[in-house]
Symmetry: C2
Subunit: 360 residues, 2 copies
DNA sequence: CCGTTGTAGGCAAGACCCCTAACTAGAATC
DNA sequence: GATTCTAGTTAGGGGTCTTGCCTACAACGG
């Protein structure tokens, strides 16, 4: 239980001021007072403290830049060197890195194509280093196209599941490059978070249908990852196969000859040419399980081939015992967007919490 | 965002004192100071305010009951009339009601057996009235053996699902009897909450196998109910039937002739006599779906016949693609226990929040 | 050029809230 | 009756937020 103390009040004020500044980029103390609802003396004191801690700085800019009469005001904003967050995505076709600052601005984007999953381990640190150069990186988020162990952040191989990127420990590889925590999650989970921000729906399922098959469950406004982080790994859900017999979802594609030889990945071009109704029937079985167990308000379909089959899937869903809306995903580069949003959030929280501690 | 203010500090103090008093039943101001970590004057002021608001009262009891030397201290505790919470369970065999006070003590327990689901509507208010007599009831929780709509609190009938209690609106029936909110939830969800308190596991699934079939999902330490409150209604999950063909879970029992004629309920005595392995195989299919989608750390088996089949179910689970621990439920009267714990929590929170407002 | 107007920011006083330290109250013990 | 020990109160100090008033300063209008 929180203990009452003067310091608690002060830290709330500082947090309030800091967050307002993050949202508005630059403000005078008078504007901050109006925006936060605090009194002018309180804001002035708070700003003084934040400047002293090196979190906030006078921009040098002054008000009367066409603003009219009155005394000149001093604009304050976050200090230049408060730090940024690193955002990375790891996919079979390459590694991407970028930095995001506390305003949400992106800098230093780099992409590095790779030929084989084995290249990821070497590409990851080098791409990161490139994006990180000349930035004070405080923490990072990583999106990976494979299941992620919730506690360790390592990519894990589930039996018979697609394993696109391969064995990897992003935390170990990236920690030396930055001064804070590294959060790793599955690309579908990040995508769901990005979609959540747009949809504004508290309970939904995100079905990723691409080379790999994945699903994220958002319950009460948060992605639920389960005990080890493997919630939504739907490859083994029992569904209806081509001839109507029951089989695991992933095996439907094997049965149809739509898996890439020597790999667990789905052959997307070949699938696009195949009968959409058979595929939609299998997807319908998965959606039945989803709806039954998780009761989403809507099922969002993403991935490289999922949205193209939306009509067939919707039609299939009207035949299911329980109805649910099915819509196509709407966010571009959803994994990157979701990971970036989370990084921004973590960065802001980290800065705010740093404001609590007094330097001496 | 919380605004800083002196009043915020004060309310934190009051809440601290009040919660400490709820946990310890009666304390002197000196003991409260030690327990809360606040100073003696602060505690004295807080107690003075709480007494003034009628939340706390001097018990009249004095310390030197063998406690040794020193000045006598005055014991304070919650006021007699702060109110209680009503806890009700609605099951096919009857309606139970009891009152729980802010210490967690139970008073006024009543049970009323019923013959048919149609009797619930009349029994509910009368049983409640009996338990409520002479108590100041501030709010209530209700456990019902059917799916509950999350927004309205009404019992709903899913096609082909067991519908044991029948059409009912507990909120409408009970609201006139008390002065606060009524929270209705499915009995399995309450049971999972009770089990959660004992297990201390943040991610698990609770499988209820009785006359009805149900499931609750606990993710990140909370029961997740889904958009309309129908998460975990597993009757339609596709699983393996007696001859190995795929079919909805509930239909397996129809196929085996284990459903009570003229009803959707399962005939438990007959089931106990049937081959456990066939049943366990069907349960295994449900667990596969659960594990795949929700990734629980453990699956808890409850209900009238579930725990008896634990060995067969465990054996079946070792053959599944992903391993998971299966254990029997350990809480007695789990739905009542869970609903009671929630009622206690709500009651305490309601009292604490009442402490915030100044009377005048 | 000079007074008016309007905004940014500072200063002072006051209201609270919490804390420490010292003090009073009152019962048991010697 | 003095001592000891504990409960609770009082006094004073430090901190935070607020209101209200003041100064600084630039634009504007006559």
């Amino acid at each position: 239980m929180t203990k009452p103390s003067q310091e608690l009040l002060r830290s709330i004020s500082d947090e309030h001021v800091l967050r307002t500044l993050m949202a508005a980029r630059k403000l005078t103390r008078a504007e901050l007072a109006i925006e936060t609802g605090l009194s002018k003396p309180t804001v002035s004191e708070s700003v003084r403290r934040l400047v002293e801690q090196g979190l906030v700085a006078d921009t040098g800019e002054r008000t009367p830049g066409g603003r009219g009469k009155g005394r000149v005001g001093s604009f304050y904003s976050l200090a230049e060197d408060v730090g940024v967050a690193l955002v990375m995505t790891i996919a079979p076709d390459g590694v991407t890195a970028e930095c995001v600052d506390a305003y949400g601005d992106v800098a230093g984007r780099t992409h590095h194509p790779i030929d084989s999953p084995a290249d990821v381990a070497s590409a990851l640190p080098s791409v990161a280093a490139e994006a990180v150069a000349a930035h004070n990186v405080r923490l990072g988020t990583v999106s990976a196209a494979d299941p992620v162990d919730r506690r360790t952040g390592r990519l894990v191989h589930l039996p018979d599941s697609p394993f696109l990127v391969g064995e990897l420990d992003p935390v170990e590889l990236l920690s030396p490059l930055l001064h804070g925590p590294v959060v790793v999650d599955n690309d579908v989970n990040w995508a769901a978070q990005a979609e959540h921000a747009v949809l504004g729906v508290a309970d939904f399922a995100y079905l990723h249908l691409g080379e790999g098959l994945g699903c994220a469950l958002v319950s009460d406004g948060e992605v639920r990852r389960g005990h080890s982080g493997l919630a939504g790994e739907i490859a083994h859900v029992i569904t209806a196969g081509p001839s109507g017999t029951a089989m695991p979802f992933i095996e439907v594609f094997g049965e149809l000859g739509l898996r890439r030889p020597g790999s667990t990945a789905i052959d997307v071009p070949r699938l696009r040419a195949a009968d959409p109704d058979v595929t939609a029937r299998a997807v319908g079985g998965v959606i039945t399980a989803l709806v039954t167990l998780a009761d989403p308000e809507v099922v969002v379909i993403g991935g490289t081939w999922g949205p193209a089959l939306l009509d067939a899937i919707s039609a299939e869903c009207t035949r299911l015992p329980r109805q649910v809306d099915v819509v196509a995903a709407s966010v571009e580069q959803p994994s990157l967007t979701g990971a970036r949003a989370a990084a921004l959030d973590l960065l802001r929280t980290a800065l705010v919490s740093r404001a609590g501690h007094r330097p001496r």
